[in-house]
């Protein structure tokens, strides 16, 4: 079953009175097993969209149908429980995780030897790896990733993206990745969706057919693809 998002209206009340409309008749359909990247400037509603899909924000009119099964989520900050160590953080999110799967998972995200560490002892890069590992620990059918590489240096960013790319390809899952970095989208997604701000609307869609493992070496070619993505006229998406 596909992920179907139909938001009629979503607005935030502003502190100084009045409100800011984030979504006004916004629709998006994501096929089962598709990896979709949402690209747009910060503040264009990517995080709000993921929160709505995750069921964390119910204050909107419209309907969101998520595929049945488990949800894995990575927030903009790692959001680990600071009073539990790495292994406990993973196990609490995924109680059915077997010992063997746990070892695999720690290895996959290069966390060997950090299982007993507490979040406060971890660098941001390590904490983000734990947050990613946690999302995949639940063997998710739907993964939501909100700027999973934010505020990491370039080397770490690249490394973590490679780890994520492997993990996404390892098992069938539907994924929504919010990012403002086009390279992230080009390297990870089956389809890139371009968003514009306030209220959010889809300005373009770019399907990527190239197999994920070949993308790293062909990044320049992928970037060129971006120039001629399929543009959706503002009028056209307003009627949906």
């Amino acid at each position: 079953m596909a992920l179907e998002i139909d938001i009629l209206r979503k607005a935030f009340v502003l502190a100084g009175g009045g409100e800011r409309v984030v979504f006004d008749h916004f629709s998006l359909r994501v096929n089962d097993g598709a990896i979709v990247a949402l690209v747009g400037p910060s503040g264009c509603g990517k995080s709000s969209l993921l929160r709505i899909v995750a069921g964390l924000d119910r204050k909107f009119s419209g309907a969101v149908k998520t595929p049945p099964g488990r949800l894995g989520m990575v927030f903009q900050e790692p959001r680990l429980l600071p009073w539990r160590n790495v292994v406990d953080n993973l196990r609490l999110a995924a109680p059915t995780l077997t010992d063997a799967a746990l070892v695999d998972l720690l290895a996959a995200f290069e966390l060997d030897g950090h299982g007993g560490d507490f979040p406060g002892q971890l660098s941001l890069g390590l904490a983000r790896r734990v947050a990613l590992a946690r999302a995949f620990a639940v063997e998710p059918d739907l993964v939501l990733l909100d700027e999973p590489f934010a505020s990491l240096d370039r080397a770490l960013h690249t490394r973590l993206r490679a780890l994520l790319s492997l993990r996404i390809g390892a098992r069938k899952m539907t994924a929504l990745i919010a990012t403002h970095d086009l390279d992230d989208a080009l390297l990870l997604a089956d389809e890139v969706i371009f968003l514009e701000a306030a209220p959010a609307r889809i300005t373009g869609r770019l399907p990527i057919k190239m197999p994920r493992e070949k993308r790293d070496e062909n990044l320049t070619e992928l970037r060129a693809l971006n120039a001629n993505y399929q543009v959706i006229a503002p009028d056209e998406d307003a009627k949906s």
Partner: protein, 245 residues
Amino acid sequence: MIRLVSLVLFLALWQVGAWFVGPHYLPDPLAVGGAIVAETRTGEMTHNLGVTLTRVLIGFTLAMAAGSAIGLALGRSEALDRFVDPWLVILLNTPALVIIMFAYIWGGLNETSALAAIALNKLPNAVVTLREGARALDPRLEDMAHAFAFSRWRRWRHVLAPQLAPFFAAGARSGLSLVWKIVLVVELLGRPNGVGFKMNEAFQLFDLKLLLAYALPFVGLMILAETFVLRPLERKASWWRLHGA
């Protein structure tokens, strides 16, 4: 070590003071020690200390349990908080004596009224502390728990309780000393036993030696509880902060 030196200095000052003003105004430490031993021999000390301690523990437990529950509810619901807050302010600012007298007049001079009065005096304090704790809960962690479908128990045990523990510990520490002072007044006004009752007896005989003989062991007991129970608990509750947060 410094604590020990400070304690010895306190005793020395007391002794010097006793020499200056005379035993009618301030009995010296040895005389008080003698009175403690004498009272212990007759069994009076142990009995009354035990009675008072039981009241302290029951009143404290009742107040902490009810206060935490109410405080959490208020911290989580703004509407409820706005409604209950005036009552809370009234209760906070009603003199302990008034609450105790009302409890005795309404409920009679019995143990139930006494315990109710003790708990009711500490209650608003616990409510306010735990309300702060509930307000300080991190909504981002709650979202995380929701996204990963934490069960009710896991959410409570691993997400909420660790955040509330420091507030609970702070409430407990300030609460224990408050409760024991209130218990004395409760006993003085309407109970036929306990440290407060004995103190009233000593006061009527102008027996300062006996008064101190009953006050000091309890102070000692509270210091022990504070050092060996409450402070370690508080440290345990926030030890993970030492690992950087």
